[in-house]
């Protein structure tokens, strides 16, 4: 009897480490929610403009829903956030994998929103970490709030399909362990199987 009690105490002591991650996993796998309509300015950088598939005049507004992609990742970051700084090389790796997979598979793209950052600050972040994908300043945190952001970095995966309302299919608070696994998860959840 003492033997069983001892084991039950052991199990109980490990319970939080099991329950908490399961709750986190459940949050991550939360059911699809509509993507709020985020409006940004068409970037002046021609490579960014082409990457996003935008044809309008530089500096005019576009909706995030107009981005030419099957799946879009929105990274909420801040130049000041040490975790975003640490994660930057992994995000660059994710972007490279996205470019590669988009050649023959679903088109997966990424943009960054610099939360409470000025244009100067996001430019500095871009230069520091040699970031090739488009970054936009969210100086007044309007977009962060619209996307129900809680912290940085956060990665929000969205399905953008023609004729369908864009939906959020994945939300990752904090960094991801592997860019390959994260990309596969995005593709699976975005319903764009290769």
């Amino acid at each position: 009897m003492r033997f069983i009690v001892l084991h039950l105490v052991l199990v109980a002591s490990f319970f939080p480490s099991l329950i908490v991650p399961l709750v986190q996993a459940a949050e991550k796998a939360a059911s699809s929610k509509p993507l709020p309509d985020i409006v940004l300015e068409i970037p002046e950088n021609p490579r960014h403009k082409e990457y996003l598939g935008l044809a309008g005049k530089n500096g005019t507004d576009f909706s995030i829903r107009d981005i030419d992609a099957d799946i879009l990742v929105i990274e909420l970051f801040s130049m000041y956030c040490p975790y975003c700084q640490k994660e930057a090389p992994a995000v660059n790796e994710l972007y490279a994998r996205m470019r590669e997979i988009s050649k023959n598979g679903p088109v997966v793209k990424i943009i960054g929103l610099g939360v409470a950052n000025s244009q100067f600050e996001i430019d500095h972040f871009r230069d520091t970490y040699k970031i090739a994908f488009p970054l936009f300043a969210d100086e007044d945190k309007k977009m962060f709030k619209a996307l129900a952001g809680e912290g940085t970095p956060t990665f929000i995966g969205c399905r953008l399909k023609d004729g369908e309302r864009p939906v959020i299919v994945l939300r990752q608070n904090g960094g991801f362990a592997s860019s390959a696994t994260f990309l596969q998860e995005l593709i699976d959840k975005g319903g764009a199987h290769q």
Binding site: F3, I4, H7, L10, V11, F14, F15, S17, L18, V20, P21, L22, Q24, A25, S78, M79, Y80, C81, P82, Y83, Q85, K86, A116, S118, F120, E121, H124, F125, T128, G151, N173, G174, G175, A177
Partner: protein
């Protein structure tokens, strides 16, 4: 035999708990540790120094175990003093990590950055460690409490410091002062512009 089977099942359960737990646990320890004091009175002190005046000299202990004296940089480097209100608070915990990736702007203008709070060394040590490794010195103005902050006129009535920047030239003269709303981080471009404007 039944004991063996029971032990094996429990062992597997614990192993799964540990693996799943570690794999999915958040790495956001700094954010999780931050104390949010809510919205504070934007500025709660009056400057005791002005642009064009000599910067009050001081010697304070750094978290690296050195004593840093402001006048040791006279004739050698421009100095930017960054006072932040307190360790483990929201805006402060972001401001210095931002400066940590901005060293080139200071180097370009032959300037160094010195971070100062009124926290004690052990608190600062733990807080700064969470940010990674900073390239600039972080000093403790803990005892006599806030004496340097008070000399500059940035000690608030609750014993914390203002969010303030002092730009000091190589002659030890204050060339610019920015006392920000404590709830808001001064933009990086402000720091860069003030650095560039220093003679």
């Amino acid at each position: 035999m039944r004991r063996k089977v029971f032990s094996t099942i429990i062992g597997c359960f614990l192993a799964i708990a540990v693996v799943v737990g570690n794999g999915l646990a958040t790495n956001d320890t700094l954010h999780d540790s931050i104390y949010n004091p809510g919205h504070l009175k934007p500025v709660d002190s009056s400057l005791n120094v002005a642009v064009g005046e000599p910067a009050p000299d001081f010697s304070l202990p750094s978290i690296a175990g050195r004593k840093i004296t402001l006048s040791q940089y006279r004739g050698k480097k421009k100095v930017v003093l960054s006072f932040v209100p307190a360790a483990w608070t929201p805006v402060c915990s972001d401001q210095w990590p931002g400066y940590n990736i901005s060293r080139k702007y200071f180097d370009d203008h032959n300037a160094i950055l010195i971070g100062i709070t009124v926290d004690n060394i052990p608190t600062l040590h733990a807080w700064v460690r969470q940010m990674g490794s900073l390239w600039f010195d972080v000093l403790s103005d803990f005892w006599p409490h806030g004496r340097v902050a008070d000399a500059y006129g940035v000690l608030r009535s609750d014993g914390t410091a203002e969010r303030a920047l002092f730009f000091i030239d190589t002659k030890g003269i204050i060339r610019d002062i920015v006392v920000s709303d404590i709830n808001v981080r001064p933009p990086l471009e402000t720091v860069v512009a003030k650095l560039a404007a220093m003679p």
